[in-house]
Amino acid sequence: MSPAVLESKAAYDIIKERFGDAVSEFDANPTMPFFEVLDASRWVDIALYMRDNSLLQFNYLACLSGMDYPEEEKLGIVCNLECIGKYTHKLAVKVKCQRDGGSIPSVSCVWHTANWHEREAYDMYGMVFEDHPDLRRILCPEDWTGYPLRKDYKVQETYHGIKVPY
């Protein structure tokens, strides 16, 4: 393992110790080490712990991306976290939910920046973020049909009488 991955592993161990079975094993790939939150209902607790624990201090949510996993019948998010100021460790977290009508707890109360990222993930993939303060579409119009980045997305034929696929 490279030094960067070892740092991520050390941070992961602290989380694993506290949350046990709610988180998966650590994936030590060199390009983006991550772990998955298996019990999505504890995601906000884990996020708060990651932000506030003095040994972790993941205060900077660099990126939150929506994902579609059609072979698992799931949707999910990937969060790239790191610490500004004290530590140099980085860690990615994955949270998944059911593909149809699934929901993930919102972490916009933990990191403000998650607000718009979650709105975008909702707009593109259609998972619901529980307790999000303002869950509306952000890039597509309010009355757009379907979620454009899903792998099985079919473009709507017309939008307000305008032909869509060109």
Binding site: A62, C63, L139, P141, L149
Partner: protein
């Protein structure tokens, strides 16, 4: 004489009493008014609507509405191969195409695990630092014009033109370069490259000082920006701000230093952070100062790169590029320090296809703009223009 009965309007109430006195009561309660700024507004470089709820001249809330430009970058990425995405990245932040390309190529190269020739690294850094100066010149010039100063705008665009000409001469395009490729460059720089870039550095250095003075010694400009739109450091980090916005709040965080890439670790430069002597830390003025001071640092970087760049006869920057780019299965989050902050790409490869399964762009403008609501609360309407200008948004990067 007309009988004065009981007259009532929204805010004035006139009542005639029995003893023939008239009382006039004035209701000083104001109503909130909804005011749309945009979709087209000179201080937003692109299409953005701000729905402002105002109480007189004070902003109660300003909610940004995006999506007017949405050109589906991420959807396109699923349909073109890895090298095919490079021209799209140019079109996101069209004022800093080189930097966007660099961030994308660095990310894919992480997945590919290939060695980049040293000469290529230096050329990449030189072109992207030139582009950073050009981008900051637009930011400063248009910010000045937002606040009513016209001369700095002309100065900035005059100097930017030199960079545009240089980059056009190197890459063949003025703004959408497609010059930095995965694993190399489109072609080597022309002969005389070092000479002309060095000439530009000599030309621009006094101009940068002049420009800095022109605005910071302008009382109106300072009054319009000092103490306006203050963002404390911890909130800025919570909003995941990056680039000059975060540094304006006093956080010394620059990816070229804190998560170094390319040849930046070999180079000597400062990360300017306002100390609060001239501006209030975190206000519009300190964000402007960071940009103004960064240009000088970019000049330093360019000079050092020109010295260190290895000369190679008959150098082909495409020699080491694989014929078909097909990264091994995996995912990566790579990023670079753009003029507007951290530009990151989250890329997933399945190992079989030459197209990414997922390519998400984390753009700094999108993230920085998300704080608009908090930033504008309680500010005056004219100051809203100063605030949006200081964010230096390019809407192509917000909507992608």
């Amino acid at each position: 004489m007309q009988e004065l009965g009981k007259v009532e309007s929204n805010s004035i109430r006139v009542t005639r009493q029995d003893d023939k006195r008239i009382t006039i009561e004035k209701d000083l309660d104001t109503e909130h008014m909804v005011l749309s700024m945009g979709p087209q507004h000179p201080s937003t470089h692109g299409v953005l609507r701000l729905e402002c709820i105002t109480d007189g001249e004070v902003i109660v809330e300003a909610e940004p509405y995006l999506g007017y430009l949405h050109r589906c970058f991420e959807k396109h990425c699923e349909n073109v191969d890895y090298p095919g995405i490079v021209p799209y990245t140019d079109r996101m932040d069209y004022l800093a195409g080189m930097n966007s390309e660099l961030a994308y190529c660095l990310t894919v190269e992480k997945l590919l695990d290939i060695e980049i020739p040293r000469r290529v690294e230096f050329i990449r850094v030189i072109t992207s630092e030139l582009n950073r100066i050009a981008s900051h010149l637009v930011a400063i010039g248009t910010y000045a014009i937002d606040l009513g100063a016209f001369t700095p705008f002309l100065f900035c665009f005059r100097d930017r033109e030199h960079i545009m000409n240089l980059l056009e001469w190197i890459s063949g395009a003025r703004m959408l370069y497609n010059y930095i490729w995965i694993g190399g460059l489109a072609y080597d720089v022309p002969a005389d490259f070092k000479k002309r870039v060095a000439e530009f550095v000599t030309y621009f250095r006094p101009k940068a000082v002049e420009l800095y003075k022109l605005l910071t010694e302008n009382e109106i400009f300072v009054k319009r920006t000092k103490g306006i739109g203050i963002m404390p450091a911890d909130v800025a980090i919570n909003f995941a701000w990056s680039g000059p916005m975060l540094r304006g709040s006093g956080v010394k965080w620059d990816l070229r230093r804190n998560d170094p890439y390319s040849v930046y670790p070999e180079l000597d430069f400062e990360v300017p952070v306002p100390d609060g002597k001239f501006s209030d830390v975190g206000d519009c003025l300190s964000r402007h100062l960071v940009r103004a001071l960064e240009m000088e640092e970019s000049l330093k970087i360019i000079e050092q790169c020109l010295d260190k760049m290895p000369e190679e006869q008959g150098f082909d920057p495409r020699a080491l590029i694989p014929k078909k780019i097909r990264p091994k299965a995996g995912e990566v989050y790579g990023r670079a320090e753009n003029p507007r902050g951290e530009l990151g790409y989250y890329i997933v490869s399945d190992g079989k296809s030459t197209k990414p399964v997922r390519c998400k762009a984390r753009s700094s403008c999108f993230v920085n703009l998300a704080a608009m609501k908090d930033l504008s609360k309680g500010q005056l309407l004219p100051d809203l223009v100063a605030i949006i200008g200081s964010i230096d948004i390019v809407l192509g990067e917000v909507d992608r």
